[in-house]
Every structure is written in C-alpha cells, then in structure tokens.
Symmetry: C2
Subunit: 141 residues, 2 copies
DNA sequence: TAATATATGTGCGAGTTGCCAATAGATGAG
DNA sequence: CTCATCTATTGGCAACTCGCACATATATTA
C-alpha cells in the first residue's frame, strides 16, 4: 500500500470564495459610468454580492490589475472635496472582458444548476425508496 | 496623492477556480455509494463539472482533508483486481456538510442570477437609448 | 521480463485573498 | 491653531489554493 499519512488538523479557510466575482461587478458598475475605488466599494453592496461588504484593499487591487491588463484607464481627479480620487473608465477591451465574464457566468450557473438538479433528483429517489420500504414494513405486519 | 505604482505584467492565472466545487461533487457521489479515489475521478466527469477532467491529485487531497475533518471514513480494500484501494464512506457529519454546501450553492446561484439579470437589464436599457437616439437623428433629417 | 494499467500519494512554485497598517489631503470641533 | 475624523489610495504579509510533475506500488498482458 502506498505511503502513510494522517496530518495535523489545519485551521479552516476563511476565504470568501466569491471575491474573484468582484471583477465582473466592477466592470458592470464602470459600464454604467466612470467612478473611483472608494465609491465602487459602496456601490458593490447595492449590487448585492452576498450582502457582505467587499474589502476595500481587494477592490483597489483588482482595479489596478485590470488597468495593467488594459481593461480600465485611470486619471486623477483633484477637483471636488476630499483627497484626490483615481477615477476609472472602462476601455473597449474591458467591455470585451466583461462579456467574456458574462458567458463564463452563464456556464457556471448551468453547472451549478445541473448539480443541484442531480442532488434533488437523488434525494427524491431516496425518499421514495424509504417510503416504499416503510410501506413494505407496514404491509408485512 | 498616495504612493506611485505601475507593476510588471504578471502571467495570467491558470487556476480553474471551480476546483473547490469538487468537494460537494465528491460528497454527492459518496452519498450514492462508497467508492475509492480513482473511481471518483472518473465519475466526476459524468457529473459534468465543466467537462474538463479533475486533476487526480486534487481529488485525493480533498478526500484526505475531508477525512481529517470527519466527513468521510476510509478503509483499505485489498480484494478485487489491481492494487489496493482506499474506499471512502460518507459519515453523518459529511451528510450535514453536503446539505450546507447545497444551501450555499443555492445562494450562489441566486447571486449569479441577480447579477446576470442586472447585466441584461442594463444592456437592454442601453440598446433602447441607442435606438431612441438613432430614431431622433432620423427624425431630425 | 518489460511495458502498461490501476491506484495512491508527495512536493513545489505560482497565484489568491483577507487583514492590518501606512500615507495623505480635507473638514470640523474645541 | 491643533487634533480628531472622514475620505481615499496603497503596500505588505501570512495563510491558503491548486495545477503540474513526479514517486511509489500492485496487477495484467505482451
């Protein structure tokens, strides 16, 4: 038999597992109009991505990464109140990237749907079997 | 203005981003009946998680981790042909864990649904505006 | 005996992400 | 004026994830 094992219990992951989903959300918000990071953090909640607030550092990081990849442009806005804002604008490439995210999400939804259906069907069958078994017992007595 | 930036372009992630989804798939398969890793790798494809094969090392890793967490039990099967198999069996805790995964996935589906609807609605409105604008131009001329 | 299929496992390196701290301008209270 | 606070952006780190390549071992077949 292959190698032994049994390792120490690790502390469970605290990962959100949805934060990559922030990317298309940001792209959609920017498609509705130019905006800066701090504002986007707040507007992400309205989009309702699981009702929990997105971490701001994550949002800023995605914005910078997307700029590096050419999906958004940025410019400093020193007008208006408060410290200067870096205002982001969607590029043509960013728009394409958003549509590719959309197709990807539609596929994801189908995969999840298929899985949930498989689960429901399996559980239904099991219930049915259990019912039949119980009925059989009742008939026997 | 806060700190400078502009970092080197990184090579894009090759992560599947769905592989955590392997976990509930394995649990469902084990709910249908005891099985060993090599077999589960193949049956994962039938469950259709994006048509691409799951990496076997990932599957084995999840199985071991789930055993550490008490969601499955394992026993060596030296009967039958070929090298010995570690046969996994779902525990009561594993069953609970599966149902918690199911509720989580239903939520995920709703979040994705809401997002796709928001996208469609936004794009519809935009098309409409563009149509109106074009019509206005036609009327003007 | 050597190649192949079955079956399980380890190690590594690159990538991801939540949390916390640093920076800095604007604003309002005392 | 000075200090606290709000707005706004960014950097760093430690923990975790995951695909890939490889190691191991048994059974089957050529």
């Amino acid at each position: 038999m292959p190698g032994r094992r049994r390792r120490g219990r690790r502390c469970r992951a605290r990962t959100n597992r949805i934060s990559r989903f922030i990317e298309p959300c940001l792209l959609l918000l920017l498609h509705r109009g130019d905006s800066h990071g701090y504002d986007l953090v707040e507007r992400l909640q309205e989009l309702g991505l699981g009702q929990q607030a997105a971490d701001s550092s994550v949002v800023y990081r995605y914005l910078r990464e997307m700029e590096d990849r050419g999906f958004v442009d940025s410019a400093w806005d020193t007008e208006g109140a408060g410290p200067p804002r870096r205002v982001y604008q969607l590029t043509a490439q960013g728009h394409e990237y958003l549509t590719s995210w959309i197709t990807g999400l539609r596929e994801t939804r189908e995969v999840v749907d298929r899985f949930l259906e498989a689960y429901d069907k399996h559980m239904e069958l099991e219930d049915h079997t259990v019912l039949l078994a119980e009925r059989a017992v009742n008939v026997d007595h």
